[in-house]
Amino acid sequence: MRGLVLRLAGLSAGAEGAMRLIGFFDTLVEQRLGLDGVLGMAARVAECPVGLAGPGATGLMARPDGSTRPGGPPPGATVRELRGGQCAWLARTGAPQPFDALLLERLALACDAVLSRRGGEAVPLDPALLETVISSTAPLPERARALRLLGFAPSAPLTLLAVDGGRGPQGLAPVLDRLAPTSVSRRRTAALGSVHVVAVTGPLPERLLAPAGFRIGVGPEVTASEAPRSWEGAVRALRFAGTSRSDVGLAPVVEEPAIYHSSLGAFEVLARELSGPAIADIGDLAVLDALAAEPGSGTELLTTLEVLVQADSLRAAARTLHLHHNSVAVRVARAEAALGYGLGETVGRFRLALALALRRLRDNPA
């Protein structure tokens, strides 16, 4: 049975063939494939290009070999609108096939399922739209138009996140998975140089840990038309954020918290005013650098210090680190010896906290 390649054209017309095609798409939905997967499989079964477009998105298309790339519908494509305003399309050259209408309907439903599951960020966007939204120099009417094209009301609340990382094949998915369930929110993402912009309506979790390889800054919630202010805050918060360590080798995964702009307080001034030369050549930072560079234990020591300045006590820090407090005490003593000041008192802790913050600012230039 070698040459009997399964083809839509080989399906008997009528209800039985229709049920078979519906079964094909139902499996794609059950498999929880992403947009790439759904479109690729749909193009393979259709044996012609298919895609998902708009609103405001350049869209994604799939070729009959299953490969996908950004692209919109060619002239003459048949389209079907989704609930969220996007359009699924099918571009058959030559005579329409008996199952084309059904195929497009099932494709639209399958895309709907993906988008409702993932909150819309899966639609590849025209990055320029989000750039316009966060640009402080864009005229207000232009920003409002971009917001609407992205599906945001200019008067609705909006939060911008600055995310560093996500250059792997999974993209931003690990971060997006940790945001609130998407039935109550809408999200748009775009890459902006090395940083990703994530715009979110709806509530965010009160505490958010960055997945391995990511750094996250969360801006203040603003009225969408004031998005540039939220973005500015997110970028400043990002400068204080640490990158979550991946679990390479025996090192434990350390997930750094996302830094919320609302928690920066007066530290924000530092992020606004200080960069480059202003932070170079600070003695306390040089000591921290030397500690961090100690082979084998430097990274752990720095983590201990970061936890210590935020903890109520050495014992609380030990609990957070899942270490015995004696081990933490030994590390702290070693740090105190190197730093030349004590960490048992508020003054010493504050001096350390400032040095750690400045070190982050130095390492994460604006």
Binding site: M1, L4, L11, F24, L28
Partner: protein
């Protein structure tokens, strides 16, 4: 349909598009195959491959056997050759599909590929198919020089029921002192009429091939009016052969969601124990004929490439 093992995720969506195949109704099953073949783009011969049709002498008292010969154009003499035996439960034949495979093999291997159109059950029960295939093998060997074929490098290869016929060919050639092939490729072979392996007992509802189809296939092939008490010869069901020593080196491929899985595995193991160099592949998450129905997935590409690579080694090309 609930399957006894997980199906490969890339194959899963296609399951619902598979035709309902019941080989008990030969006419309906052949019509299904016809409809599928009609949906395919028309067969075109790949560049650099020539096709000629021949009728070769059949066994004594039987009609001539039609064969299609695919030959790399302009290639020299002493080419390797493959006798290809198509599948279809002894009952079905797909002309175009198998032509595509035979032509591809000819192009990729630089080999002469002879596809034999043997007589089908239930109209022509055993030994019609083995007679025809053996006649084609004898013709290929006898006319090696004229066909530009190296007589020492003739492989036999078959799919499904064709895999069973291929295994039978090697037994016949050994026992009759006929032209012994240098290599046998048994792809998802149908070898055992006893239907007693665990996969054959358990897989009553697997896609494409399942116990009900196997029952009907053997009933048609062995003949409806056969005396049930009469022994089934090993040339009809090679799993019954008691001695597998001296057979050509083998490549056996099976699918884990195929009721033929265990008879293929058993036969391969018995070949090894009989001292026959044997390569065995079990492809997980695949159903019977998956490589034909859905050629463009990672696992089915591995299946097709695996067979081609085995032929390359078997023919020393």
């Amino acid at each position: 349909m609930s399957l006894p093992l997980p199906v490969d995720p890339e194959l899963a969506p296609w399951l619902s598009l598979l035709p309902a195949l019941d080989v008990g109704d030969a006419a309906a099953a052949r019509a299904t195959v016809e409809a599928m073949a009609a949906a395919a783009p028309p067969f075109t011969l790949p560049e650099g491959v020539e096709l000629s049709e021949h009728s070769v002498p059949g066994a004594v008292g039987t009609p001539e056997v039609p064969v299609a010969v695919f030959r790399p154009a302009g290639a020299g003499n002493a080419l390797p050759a493959v006798l290809y035996v198509h599948g279809g439960g002894f009952i079905l034949e797909e002309g175009d599909g198998d032509r595509a495979l035979a032509a591809r093999w000819a192009a990729e291997l630089g080999a002469v590929v002879v596809s034999v159109r043997y007589r089908l059950a239930p109209e022509h029960p055993y030994p019609a198919a083995t007679d025809d295939c053996y006649a084609a093998l004898e013709w290929l060997a006898a006319n090696a020089a004229g066909l530009g074929v190296d007589r020492a490098r003739i492989a036999v290869a078959g799919m499904s029921a064709g895999g069973g016929l291929t295994a039978a060919l090697t037994l016949l050639a050994r026992d009759r002192g006929g032209p012994v092939p240098c290599f046998q490729l048994l792809d998802i072979p149908e070898l055992d009429d006893r239907l007693e392996t665990s996969s054959m007992r358990e897989f009553t509802d697997t896609p494409v091939w399942n116990r009900p189809n196997a029952v009907r296939s053997w009933r048609a092939y062995l003949g409806a009016d056969r005396d049930p008490a009469a022994p089934v010869p090993a040339y009809a069901a090679p799993a019954r052969a008691e001695n597998l020593a001296g057979l050509p080196p083998a490549y056996v491929a099976v699918s884990d969601l195929d009721p033929l899985r265990d008879e293929g595995l058993d036969y391969a193991l018995r070949l090894v124990r009989a001292g026959v160099p044997t390569e065995l592949h079990l492809f997980p998450g695949t159903f019977h004929g998956a490589a034909g129905f859905v050629p463009d997935t990672a696992v089915t590409r591995r299946m097709s490439e695996g067979a081609l690579d085995a032929l390359r080694r078997g023919l020393a090309v």
